[in-house]
């Protein structure tokens, strides 16, 4: 495949893949990062992404799917432009991780793996993200937000909404009080 003319990836990503497969003693070692980088650009692992990655590495599409389904960050359906991943594992749970998740659910009106109707946000409850000492923590795409409180949630959403070019109309609940249940922890 000529990466310049036929690739579904941007020239920059196509060049990165060429460099990646050349780098390893065995070409296939590039597979896992390549899938993640492709997903970052395209949004999810579409059939076309899988076909192109298979061809670039020289394995079958089935091989690619077999590997891709193993890794929790890889997805086969689009997510929101900003994928909010809320950790509720033990260290975060002890410091109110579920309150953070509740607040995001309330603000966005979607649950686990849900996407907002404008496609700006998706929400996920995730396992430990390696920010235990700065809990509760979330990741929005690859950005970490540490030491959260439920009342910080609307501001975080506003920030990303502005980035996405969808400034809120001010009616999101910045002023509304969190109706959280009595703190457990």
């Amino acid at each position: 495949m000529s990466s310049e003319t036929m690739s579904i990836f941007s020239p920059r990503l196509a060049a990165r893949f060429d460099a990646l497969v050349a780098k390893y003693p065995v070409k296939r070692s590039a597979l896992v990062p390549m899938l993640l980088y492709a997903q970052d650009e395209i949004g999810y692992l579409s059939d076309a992404v899988i076909a192109e990655v298979a061809e670039r590495i020289g394995i079958t599409e089935l091989d690619v799917r077999n590997v891709a389904t193993y890794y929790s960050m890889l997805r086969f359906k689009p997510a929101g432009k900003y994928n909010i991943q809320v950790c509720t594992n033990i260290s975060c749970m002890l410091r109110g991780g579920y309150d953070i998740l509740d607040r995001f659910q309330k603000e966005l009106g979607v649950g686990h793996k849900g996407i907002t109707s404008d496609g700006v946000f998706s929400l996920e409850e995730v396992e430990c993200i390696g920010a235990c000492c700065w809990a509760p923590a979330i990741q929005v795409n690859y950005d970490f937000h540490d030491e959260l409180k439920p009342e910080l949630v609307p501001g975080i959403l506003e920030g990303y909404r502005a980035k996405a070019g969808f400034p809120g109309d001010g009616s999101t609940s910045l002023g509304r009080k969190a109706e959280g249940k009595a703190p457990h922890a």
Binding site: L36, N66, N89, L94, R95, C128, G130, C132, A182
Partner: protein, 436 residues
Amino acid sequence: MPRLVSHPDEVKIVTRRFGQGAANIDRYLELGGYQSAKKCLEQGPDWIINEMKASNLRGRGGAGFATGMKWSFVPKQSPKPKYVLVNGDESEPGTCKDHLIFLHDPHSVIEGTIIAGLAIGSKLGFIYLRGEYRYLLEIVEKAVADAYARGFLGKNIFGSETEFQIITQSGAGAYEVGEESALMESLEGKRGVPRIKPPFPAVVGLYGGPTIINNAETIATVPHVIAMGAESYAAVGTPRNGGTRLFGISGHVERPGVYELPMGYNLKKMIYDVAGGVRGGRKLKAVVPGGSSTPVLLPEEIENLGMDFDQVGKAGSMLGSGGVVVIDDQTCIVEFALRTISFYQHESCGWCIPCREGTDWLKKTFTRFHAGFGTASDIDNIQHIAQNILGRTFCPLGDAAAMPTLGFIKKFRKEFEDHLNGKPCPYARHEELAAV
């Protein structure tokens, strides 16, 4: 940016460059960087391995295997290329120390990888970071590129005849890949399922070649061991437990954070003095001493407990990854156990049936139990299931699920019994957790 903490009892060896801009190669050099790698290049493999053995440095990933010993298992002559693999797939709940190493001192990982390569006669090292650590991967990649530009990596490192290359690699979300054989599978572009041992990776590892796999903290420690001398390093810790450890204290403490303390540091002091005690002046209920896979300890068990591999082992738990999770008296242990087992159920790769089925049954039973639909026989049944996972899987994930489960039941049996009689847990508030 994750908050950095400090305490007067800390002995800053691995963290001594944190917060000083050492991700910049010039700054790293100003702070004494790459001198250890140069020294090792002059001294040769036998000297390096002897230093590592004398340092009593033990693997920081969790198992605590002696690093020098591990390196010495690699055959000197090998028809296949040898590899160094740095495990930065940090995923054990309660553990975030490697996060800070990659952020503040990526060159220490690179320098440690070079030294490991020199020790075993390898020309290629891999630094594997979990997929979620993208911003850290970018920091490490920049550091690797800078090291190449200075000639510290490449065909002729530090102007010598010796070659050493480093490839950085991103994962894509999988706790299991932190297990060394699954890590190699992932690096070979496969599903991260474990391999049976033997053969051990030191003999048959990545691409079938002899491979050493070390935790990122272990590798980051190596240049410091060389710089300060093995004996000085060993003297910091306790017998057979050299040096310091990056203890990540999280949960219900006033000052959570990653603290570098000498091996053998008293756990009670760590919680009450270093981390400022239990949050809000509450009482301590339990401590998970080394990441979520290590059996829970009671307040009376930590009175005189020194945090090194041997002492925590004697106390019936494990030092693990050094992730100390502190639990106060207003926490429901059944809920905590449920959240712990839910994680292992989610992360079980499904390769070994006892782990795949066992974690699933445990999660189901705990969920029902916590929702108030438990029966007296469940308590014994949970133990029975956990016992039947233990030691019956290729990799330690099965044990990692079974060991804490057994600990919770053994030490908090009464709290489990209090959940009987159809009463929902008095602390329950998460419908999504309570729903079967």
